[in-house]
């Protein structure tokens, strides 16, 4: 954070990837939290696969709508070469989250012979790491395709962004529901969670567990285990209501029961909000 407490998030990609929608959702999350938000974007060449970027700045009071080079807390790049293009905007100690899926622009394919090398830059990840210590690269599109819609790539990336932001999960899910077409809310939320979980899982794997602040709230990709201590549960229903994945329900004895463990994203809300310490998620 800058001395005045403004957070800078730079979201970049190429036309059609959904940069603007992602930044709009971030804006809604910030506003709902009561922050002032300013956004500034360029999407002129968007339809032709041109550069699209969106500066998002939020805090108690935001003066300028644009981010100065070297001051962005987070760079969220939808494309590796775009990450490289914008990396000088990231502040020392900042974070770059980058989708590893390349979009090779026509200008890089001027040599038209079969199998001719493109002019797409090589060694991007190393170059990024040379500039900023915290680079998190992953294949967001693969996760989106798994969910059944490659267009959800932007929400997957937003999920990854959420893993380094201060906001609560509910705030994000609410903002997504308010910002996308009603038909796609569920899919978008799923995509968001996939991105978020992938980041948490990676964070957990890269840090010794006792050092990792997130280690408890981390989501793993292996099957989660949700244990409900039946004789401690008093049937208050809080866990059922707060679970974003509807994994739990009340049974006929008015005790909580796990009905959809496979959908669990290990958000931990059920464990943390059970007043009777009757839920344990592993």
């Amino acid at each position: 954070m800058e001395p005045n407490g403004t957070q800078n998030v730079l979201i970049v990609g190429v036309g059609g990837q959904g940069v603007i929608l992602a930044s709009d959702i971030l804006g809604v999350v910030c506003m709902n939290r009561g922050y002032q938000v300013k956004k500034s974007e360029v999407h002129g060449m968007a339809k032709r696969g041109g550069v699209v970027y969106s500066h998002v700045r939020y805090g108690a009071q935001v003066l300028s709508p644009t981010i100065e080079p070297g001051t962005s807390d987070v760079l969220l790049a939808f494309e590796p070469a775009e990450a490289l293009r914008w990396s000088k905007y990231v502040k020392p100690g900042g974070t770059i989250i980058v989708n590893s899926r390349k979009r090779i622009p026509p200008a890089a394919c001027q040599d038209r012979r079969m199998d001719a090398p493109t002019r797409y830059p090589q060694g991007i990840e190393q170059a990024l790491r040379g500039q900023v210590g915290d680079v998190r690269q992953f294949d967001a599109e693969e996760l989106a395709v798994e969910i059944g819609d490659h267009r959800m790539c932007n929400t997957v990336l937003l999920g990854a962004l959420s893993s380094v932001c201060e906001f609560e999960l509910q705030d994000w899910l609410g903002a997504i529901a308010a910002s996308v077409k009603p038909k796609t809310v569920e899919r978008n939320q799923k995509a968001f969670l996939a991105g978020r979980n992938a980041q948490f899982a990676a964070m957990r794997d890269s840090l010794p567990s006792e050092k990792c602040e997130m280690s408890r709230s981390v989501t793993c990709l292996d099957a989660p285990e949700i244990a409900i201590h039946d004789s401690w549960c008093k049937g208050c229903e809080i866990c059922v209501v707060v679970c974003p994945q509807a994994c739990l329900k009340m049974n006929e004895r008015n005790r909580a029961e796990v009905v959809k463990a496979e959908a669990c994203i290990r958000c931990m809300l059920c464990e943390w909000m059970c007043p009777d310490l009757a839920v344990r998620v592993q």
Binding site: G5, C274, P275
Partner: protein
């Protein structure tokens, strides 16, 4: 991997709090905070007074002391002076800590004794059947205010700050992860740390005031609060009737025990 059961007196469970009582959520957050601070069980003393919130001391496997009504801070001050190396955490409620024990609170804050005071505010005396407390909001129904309470309630955070607490914060049970972080920050502060936690009493406060089931009540909390950092930028009318959450005041100053030790050395 964190397992809260390591910190519990398992034979005491299930606990005696009513279904959906917010105090249990605070207990979970406290255990996670202690775990993340890597404190051993023997380094911690939990002191409590009388009331539903104070029952929490009985469930944790630390050094614990369940004291007299309103007096946990007085006992805790003694413990801290005798064994300054221990982390002393006081769990009290709005009745215990602000009414019967109000005087102890302001003096512990004034002296900046190195204690962490968690005041679980559910706006009611739960254990004795739902009488209104010094924090009950105007208009709220209780056994002793069937037509609505009309006394001006305390803002306990302002009170603690004015009395001299070096760390003052407020959390809510709706945000268990933020609450955990506030508890960590409170314990890390060397002097007197005061943390009010807005908790729920579905059994009396919720039922008398027709606030719905425990889950409804916990979701409702979100509407009553604004984060202190966000509040700085909001116009006054959006803050009317809202409580501020987060770290409200942090101004480290010499801790009482240290000053005392020096003066008698």
């Amino acid at each position: 991997m964190f397992d809260f059961r390591e910190y519990l007196r398992m034979e005491m469970f299930p606990h005696m709090l009513c279904p959906g009582c917010g105090h249990g959520i605070v207990l979970g957050a406290l255990l996670r905070a202690i775990h993340s601070l890597k404190l051993t069980k023997d380094e911690i003393v939990v002191v409590s007074g009388i009331g539903c919130s104070s029952r929490l001391a009985g469930y944790v496997d630390f050094n614990t002391l369940h004291t007299t009504h309103g007096r946990p801070l007085a006992f805790a001050t003694g413990i801290k002076l005798a064994r300054p190396e221990l982390t002393v955490i006081v769990i009290t409620g709005d009745g215990d800590g602000l009414s019967i024990g109000g005087n102890h609170l302001i003096h512990a804050a004034r002296r900046n004794v190195g204690l962490t005071c968690l005041l679980l505010n559910n706006q009611i005396y739960g254990m004795t059947g739902g009488q209104f407390a010094p924090t009950t909001q105007i208009g709220r129904v209780s056994t002793t205010s069937p037509k609505g309470q009309y006394e001006t309630p305390f803002d306990s955070c302002k009170l603690a700050e004015a009395a001299g607490a070096s760390f003052v914060a407020r959390g809510i049970t709706y945000e268990p992860s933020a609450l955990e972080k506030l508890i960590v920050a409170a314990i890390e502060n060397k002097g007197f740390s005061f943390l009010e936690v807005a908790s729920d009493c579905p059994e009396f406060f919720g039922r008398f005031n027709k606030l719905g089931n425990p889950a409804d009540q916990i979701l409702m909390q979100k509407q009553n609060v604004v984060d202190v950092e966000a509040a700085a930028a909001l116009p006054a009318e959006r803050l009317r009737g809202k409580m501020l959450t987060g770290i409200l005041h942090h101004e480290p100053r010499p801790e009482y025990g240290a000053v005392y030790a020096e003066s008698v050395a």
